[in-house]
Structures are given as structure tokens and as C-alpha cells.
């Protein structure tokens, strides 16, 4: 039974901070469309987002989101894999998918003049994946190869060991690739059910950024996406993340370098401390004048690569400091990292450093949003994870409010308790 709802679209037009005109509207079947109108070059990026992603996976079906998404962009019931590839290349478009823990999207980018053809292809991919048995088999094999090849990268080796020990049984424990065991178990009917749940009209939203006329956009999307049926609504899951212990794990590496990854339990993106910790992250790492870089690379010459990451997650995240170094410097480096964190817990970041850090964040934030691909991604992702797309423009205002005291508070909350350290040490011959 198809339900047609005649909704009166409310247009909320706001001037986006980054040049474009932002608005949103809904299609007849209640799919929300976020539209960022750009001027200048005639390029467009269109993404279909869903919050049903890795966060819902279990040990049994880990990797199902990525497997399904990879197969979706491979072939449809109307287009075999070679025809889909040819149709996309014939209009010079780029069809891809991006699977993350808390949201995933299928994306197509193209020149404005191919808007209709691109929308039709994207809708076909979203609505009619083939999930062909042979393709399921080869895709599983290819993902297993990528999983295997991750062991040839020192960063991935460290990170994969970190997350599995940090999250244990939680959905964030594995990479989005899943595991070889879980991949082998996934069946075609599971993939179809997963797709039906992830990409029904109750869960998806469409994010478009580009130089396209609004009326054309609305009519075209209605034409191709307006018949997607509703279905079971996304329901978030609850899971506990351990923490509460101080632990160091050594891994034998096959690399020239050694690697350290030291991480702490960190708040989710809805937490009031989220932005304070983002600013703290920039004080510590990520730029040439951050404390870790200045101290460990510039003053001591211990490393080439040193930084900190704090991913935005809907559930408990991690704050990780990572560094690639010579094995003889492991102990001194661990000691210096602890001293840097201790200093941050005991002394308030002074006004000048805080101001400079914020200016840097702001500059890079804006420059990161210069392309239709990044803009449609950020707006869609913010909306999909429940922050609302408007938050992407508000983020900088919120960040401006963070004080030295906020950083002191969050540093003491995060860096004084449990931590997990992974050390990849070259195998001695």
C-alpha cells in the first residue's frame, strides 16, 4: 500500500555562512531535502544519507552496511554492473558511497547539465539494488583483501588494535569493513532486508549542493525519489563502552617504524563538552603550532607524524594521540605526552593561545567547505546524526564561546582517568 501524503512544504531560507543559499523542503513521501545553492562553476554533488549504518551492526553481521552499499553502487535490477559503470561514465559523473559508523551515504557528483540523468541513476541505485549472488561473493572477497591489506599499514594496524581493545563488543570496535568471519555469514536476504531498512523514505534524506535551479531540483527529485516507500524507522541502539582501566598493549610490528596510539574515553556529539574537547584537540594536535607538534617534532625531533584525533560520534567516542617514531624513543615520548597532558590539566590555556587556536579552526573549517562535495557531505551528515544541518553553520559560534576554564575542566575529566595505549614495536630479528 502506497501512502501519498500531500505535505505543504515549508521553505526555510537562511543565508549559509559559506556563501551559498541554504534551504530545505520535503518531497511528497516525506523525504527531507537539504539544498545549498551555489554560484559560479556548474558542478553539483547529491547525496542520499541514512542514519542506519555500522552503529546498528552486531558481531554477527559486522560489515553489512559497507557490503550492501558497495553492491548498491555496483549494479541494479535495471542495470548490470557494466551498464551501470558505462551509464555513469557516459555523463562524466562519479558514483560512490561513504559508509561511516553513525551515518552512511551514496553520492553522485556531476556537471549541472547532467542533472536529470544523474538523479535518475542515483534513484535507481537507491531503489533497485540487484544484490547478485556472484557479485556478493566477489565483493566479500575484495573487502576481505582490503581488511588484510590494512595490516600493511602501520597506522591502520595501530588504530584497528586500538578500537577493538577500546570498544570490545560495541559496534564501534571493528572497522567499517567488518571481519572476515562476519562477512562470510552475511546472506543475500539479509542484505535485502538491511537495504530495505536503511534506505526507506522514513530514514533517508537527500543533501544537494551545487549550481542548479531550485524548481528543476524539486521536480526532478519528486519524479525519481517521490515513489520510495516508507518503512521501519531508524531506532538507535544502546551500548556500553568500558573504560575505567589503564592499559598498555604491545603489538609486534613488521615495519621500520614504531607507533604509539594513546587514547581516552570521550563524549558523544550531543554532549555539552563536545565542542570544548574539539578545541582542546586543536590546542594539542593537528597543526604546526599545536603543543604536541611543537614539543615532540619541532623541539625534540622525535617524529615526522604526530597528531590527535577526536571523531564526532553519536555514542561515546575516543580522543587519541598518535605518533610514528623510532623504537628507541618510545619511553621518552610516552613520558613527554604525559607531561603535556598534565600541563593541560593544571594550567589554563592562556587567552592568546585560545584565540589563535580558534582562528585556526575557523579558517580551516571554512576552507574545508569550499567544494560542493564537502558541503553536501557536512550538511547531510549533521542532519543525519541528529544535530540538524543548520548546526554546521552554528558550530563556529558555539566554538567561540569555549573558554580556558572549559578546556581545563574537560582536560581533567578526560585525561586524568582511564587510558588505553597501543605500542607497535618493530619485531627484533
Amino acid at each position: 500500500m502506497k501512502k501519498i501524503i500531500f505535505a505543504i512544504s515549508l521553505f526555510l531560507i537562511s543565508q549559509a555562512a559559506f556563501g551559498g543559499q541554504m534551504e530545505d523542503f520535503t518531497l511528497k513521501n516525506n523525504i527531507k531535502v537539504i539544498f545549498d545553492k551555489t554560484n559560479g562553476i556548474g558542478v553539483v554533488s547529491m547525496k542520499v544519507f541514512t542514519p542506519a549504518a555500522v552503529v546498528l551492526e552486531t558481531k554477527e553481521n559486522a560489515g553489512i552496511s559497507l557490503l550492501a552499499a558497495n553492491l548498491m553502487v555496483k549494479s541494479t535490477k535495471n542495470r548490470s554492473s557494466d551498464i551501470l559503470a558505462r551509464d555513469v561514465d557516459n555523463i562524466g559523473a562519479d558514483l560512490s558511497n561513504l559508509v561511516d559508523y553513525d551515518a552512511q551515504c551514496i553520492s553522485i557528483s556531476f556537471l549541472s547539465e547532467y542533472f536529470d540523468a544523474s538523479a535518475e541513476i542515483l534513484a535507481d541505485v537507491i531503489k533497485n539494488p540487484a544484490f547478485d549472488e556472484n557479485e556478493i561473493y566477489t565483493e566479500k572477497r575484495d573487502i576481505a583483501a582490503v581488511l588484510n591489506a590494512r595490516k600493511d599499514s602501520i597506522f591502520s594496524t595501530a588504530l584497528d588494535n586500538f578500537t577493538i581493545n577500546f570498544y570490545k563488543d560495541a559496534p564501534y570496535a571493528l572497522t567499517v569493513l567488518g571481519s572476515e568471519e562476519s562477512l562470510n555469514k552475511i546472506t543475500r536476504s539479509q542484505l535485502e532486508a538491511w537495504h530495505k531498512y536503511s534506505f526507506n523514505s522514513s530514514n533517508i534524506l537527500i543533501s544537494v549542493s551545487g549550481n542548479i535551479d531550485k524548481r528543476t531540483l524539486k521536480n526532478t527529485l519528486e519524479k525519481y525519489f517521490g515513489d520510495i516507500e516508507s518503512g521501519e524507522k531508524f531506532k538507535d541502539v544502546d551500548f556500553n563502552v568500558g573504560g575505567g582501566e589503564i592499559k598498555t598493549i604491545e603489538i609486534k610490528g613488521k615495519f621500520n617504524q614504531a607507533y604509539i596510539m594513546k587514547g581516552f574515553l570521550a563524549p558523544d556529539l550531543k554532549d555539552k563538552d563536545y565542542i570544548s574537547l574539539k578545541v582542546t584537540g586543536a590546542v594539542l594536535g593537528g597543526r604546526m603550532t599545536s603543543r604536541l607538534f611543537t614539543e615532540l617534532r619541532e623541539k625534540l625531533g622525535l617524529a615526522y607524524e604526530v597528531s590527535a584525533i577526536y571523531p564526532s560520534r553519536t555514542h561515546k567516542s575516543y580522543f587519541v594521540i598518535y605518533i610514528g617514531l623510532d623504537k628507541k624513543n618510545i619511553d621518552i615520548t610516552l613520558k613527554r605526552i604525559d607531561e603535556i597532558l598534565e600541563d593541560l590539566r593544571n594550567n589554563e590555556v592562556d587567552a592568546q593561545e585560545l584565540k589563535d587556536t580558534k582562528t585556526y579552526i575557523k579558517g580551516l573549517y571554512i576552507m574545508d567547505r569550499q567544494t560542493v562535495d564537502r558541503k553536501s557531505y557536512y550538511y547531510g551528515w549533521r542532519e543525519s546524526v541528529g544535530q540538524g544541518y543548520e548546526y554546521d553553520d552554528k558550530y563556529l559560534e558555539e566554538m567561540d564561546k569555549v573558554s580556558g576554564k572549559d578546556i581545563l575542566k574537560i582536560a581533567n575529566k578526560i585525561f586524568s582517568k582511564d587510558s588505553l595505549t597501543i605500542i607497535v614495536r618493530p619485531d627484533e630479528k
Binding site: 562519479d94 599499514s153 613488521k254 617504524q257 625534540l300
Partner: protein, 434 residues
């Protein structure tokens, strides 16, 4: 001071038909008496700007006892200059909300600052002082040695980096293009401040520099400022030019057994140098061969025969002799068959040519990639900067025109001319014990 201004006219046929945007708005190119070139392309639609200095000095300019010196120098240039001591340069850029970085390649080294529009002037001043008055403090050299050695260690932990090194070495037997960019740990550990300074003095001269500014800025103001700074650099004698041309020679295969989990390979052959229009055809030929999901290598080796996990091909343009290459990740058991199949796919194009549809697809893909790259000032600057380094600055605005003129027979001709099974260079890394 006489300046020659070359105003390049917007070519109508290059205009992408879009509402309100023409991709090929001309750039202002100025050549100064001291030999320095500046390229300015302002666009008020951009939120930010990018300022870059391209120095035509890289691994090709190094003698064997200087391997890796260009790259080491690139690091040291950020260690303070007369008016920006210590870390003032990076600190100032970041405190203005900008991003600063640099990169070294075989043929050039580039330094760039991406910044909001109010920071362009200061960026020019900083980069000019950095290029003209670097201090190279001894204690910074000693510290940065360790950092670069760590970078070398990290580099050789990556399978494709190791393969790239051996591919280049075997492809370029006589030409300086075979020199390693990352260089050698021993040389970096021992190089003295005098050696560094002499290398810098010889190559960081105005005749070998191009300043490129793109994005949102005031063209007149910035043009004047470049004239007062970079335009005043002292002209010095040009050092000897390295040998960049490589004659065709017998192929080589290098297979390394290593602690990897899957197989990795780079295989390819020498092509044309940047002065030849064959480089445009090379792009198309390699696109049809392995440039996307509808390409021949992808369809046959990945989808039909399932010999590889991933495969792609492209053409690496150089000022000197460039090369066409194919990279793949695969199961080691298929290695021999992959090589055979790649050869037969190339042979197939040589014997039967490509279709009209394949040509149109390749052209459209190039045009689309080009349009998307024009969203960011940095990328626009890179297009202008690199074509200028290739000695063909006019191509930055004629590229699409050149591409659109290609015929189906051109790709076939290119492969006929440059491909020969006995001249193929292959570098592969396979898991031990397989």
C-alpha cells in the same frame, strides 16, 4: 624596471556552459627582469585564496651525494628567515586561520599558504622573505635531520612507495628523473649546513621561481606587492640543467618478497615529454585503458577474470620524459597472468583502436575532473603552476581545447608509438613464501 605583461584572453570555446560561471577566466602573467614569473588569477566567488611559490628544483638537480637534499631543504625553509624568526612563519599563518605546507617532487619544490582573503598580502611577504633570506640555524638542522629520517622510515613502510622508487630507478637509467625524492638516510644524517646553503643558493634563484596567486584578492595590490618583493630578487647565473630525457631501452622486472599480506605492483612504459602534444593523447589512452569502472582493465581484470582487487592506470607527465603506468593490488597467485592480460589489453587497442564512445567518455571525464578541480584556489593554482613548470604556461587555459580536438585514432597511435612489450618496467611486492 620594465615589465612585460601578457594578458591571456578568455577563450570562448573553453567556457563551460554554466549559469554565470566561465572556467577559463584569464590569468594575469607577469615576467620580471630578474626572470621570475608571477601568475595571478582572481575570482571574487571564492571564499579564500591560495599563494604558492614553485621552485624548479627537485631530486633531478641532486648529485648522487645529495640524494634527498631538495626534500630536506624544503623542511628547513620553514625554520626561520630574516624577518620571521623561529616558528614565526607557521605560527603567523595558523593564527590568521591559514594552512601552510610544502611538497617536493622530482622536478620542483612548492611552498604554499591557503588563507582567507585578508591574509594574502602577509602571505606574499612571508613567502618572499622565506625564499630570499632563510637562516638555516644549525640547531634546527640537527633537530630536523631526525624528523626527516623518521619520514624516510615511514615512507619505506609503504608498499607502493617502495615500488615507486624501484620503478623510477629502472625506468630512468640515464636521466636524472630516476633520482629518489625521499633520498637516503645516510646522506641526510651527514649533510652539512654549507652543503645545504650552497645547494639553496644555486637553485633558489628568481629565474627558477614562479609565484602563483589564485582566489579572492585585489589583483592590482597583490601584483604591485609581488613586484616590490619577489620582483627585486637578485638574478644569479643559471646552474647546469639536468638531463631529463630518457631514450627507450630494454625493460626490467623487479620482484620483492616481503612481509606483505597481498600483492602490489606498478608496471608501465616510457612516454613523451611535456613539450610534445602526445601527453594529451597519453591521458586519453590511459583513461580508456584503466581510468574508471567502465575502462578495459577494470572490466576485464577485475570484473570478468577477477585477477585483481583493484587496478587503475594513468600517465605521469614530466618536464622530461613521462611514463604511463598501471597499479594493481592482487592475490600473488595471479601475478604472471595479470602481466599477460595487461599486455593483451594494450595490444588490443594497438590492433583494433578504441571506440567513439570510449573517446567521448574519456574526454568528458577529463572535463568533469577539470571543472571540479576549479572549486578550490589551491587546485587552480596547481594547474597554472605545474603547466608553467612544464614550460607550457599557455596550456593552463588551452587544456580542454587540446583535449576536445583528439580523435579515436590518436590513442591507438600513442600506444603504437610508445608501447613495446620488451620495454616494460615492472616493480612488484609479493607476500613471502608465495
Amino acid at each position: 624596471m620594465k615589465k612585460i605583461k601578457i594578458k591571456i584572453l578568455c577563450m570562448i570555446m573553453l567556457c563551460l556552459i554554466v549559469t554565470g560561471g566561465c572556467i577559463s577566466k584569464g590569468a594575469k602573467i607577469v615576467k620580471y627582469d630578474n626572470g621570475l614569473i608571477s601568475i595571478l588569477r582572481s575570482d571574487k566567488n571564492n571564499l579564500a585564496a591560495s599563494v604558492a611559490v614553485y621552485v624548479r628544483a627537485g631530486a633531478v638537480d641532486e648529485k648522487p651525494n645529495q640524494a634527498g637534499l631538495s626534500h630536506f631543504l624544503e623542511h628547513l625553509m620553514f625554520k626561520g628567515s630574516k624577518n620571521y624568526q623561529g616558528d614565526a612563519l607557521s605560527r603567523k599563518v595558523e593564527n590568521m586561520g591559514g594552512y601552510i605546507n610544502a611538497a617536493t617532487s622530482n622536478e620542483f619544490t612548492m611552498y604554499y599558504i591557503d588563507i582567507q582573503k585578508d591574509g594574502v598580502e602577509e602571505s606574499i611577504k612571508m613567502l618572499a622573505d622565506t625564499m630570499q633570506n632563510p637562516l638555516f640555524p644549525q640547531d634546527e638542522i640537527n633537530r630536523e635531520r631526525k624528523v626527516v629520517i623518521e619520514e624516510i622510515q615511514r615512507y619505506f613502510d609503504r608498499p607502493f612507495a617502495v615500488l615507486h622508487e624501484s620503478f623510477s630507478k629502472n625506468a630512468y637509467e640515464k636521466s636524472a628523473l630516476g633520482n629518489s625524492v625521499i633520498g637516503s638516510e645516510e646522506i641526510i644524517a651527514a649533510v652539512t649546513r654549507d652543503e645545504i646553503f650552497n645547494y639553496y643558493s644555486a637553485h633558489y634563484i628568481p629565474q627558477k621561481m614562479t609565484v602563483v596567486v589564485c582566489g579572492n584578492f585585489d589583483e592590482d595590490k597583490i601584483n604591485a606587492l609581488i613586484g616590490e618583493t619577489f620582483g627585486k630578487f637578485e638574478k644569479k647565473p643559471l646552474p647546469n640543467e639536468p638531463m631529463l630525457l630518457e631514450e627507450a631501452h630494454k625493460g626490467k622486472e623487479f620482484v620483492k618478497k616481503s612481509k606483505v599480506e597481498v600483492g602490489y605492483m606498478i608496471t608501465g612504459f616510457l612516454g613523451a615529454d611535456a613539450s610534445s602534444d602526445d601527453i594529451f593523447t597519453a591521458d586519453i589512452a590511459m583513461h580508456v585503458l584503466g581510468g574508471g569502472k567502465s575502462s578495459r582493465l577494470y572490466r576485464v581484470l577485475k570484473e570478468e577474470k577477477q585477477l585483481v582487487y583493484s587496478i587503475s592506470s594513468s600517465f605521469q607527465m614530466m618536464r622530461g620524459t613521462g611514463y604511463a603506468y598501471i597499479s594493481a593490488v592482487f592475490d600473488a597467485a595471479n601475478y604472471e597472468e595479470i602481466k599477460k592480460e595487461i599486455d593483451s589489453q594494450i595490444q588490443n587497442i594497438i590492433d583494433n583502436g578504441i571506440t567513439r564512445e570510449e573517446l567521448d567518455r574519456a574526454k568528458l571525464s577529463v572535463k568533469t575532473g577539470w571543472s571540479f578541480s576549479f572549486e578550490k584556489p589551491f587546485n587552480i593554482g596547481y594547474v597554472y603552476g605545474s603547466w608553467n613548470l612544464m614550460g607550457r604556461p599557455e596550456i593552463a587555459e588551452k587544456f580542454l581545447f587540446k583535449m576536445s580536438a583528439l580523435k579515436t585514432s590518436d590513442a591507438q597511435e600513442f600506444l603504437k608509438r610508445y608501447y613495446n612489450k620488451d620495454r616494460v618496467i615492472t616493480a612488484a611486492m609479493l607476500p613471502e613464501g608465495k
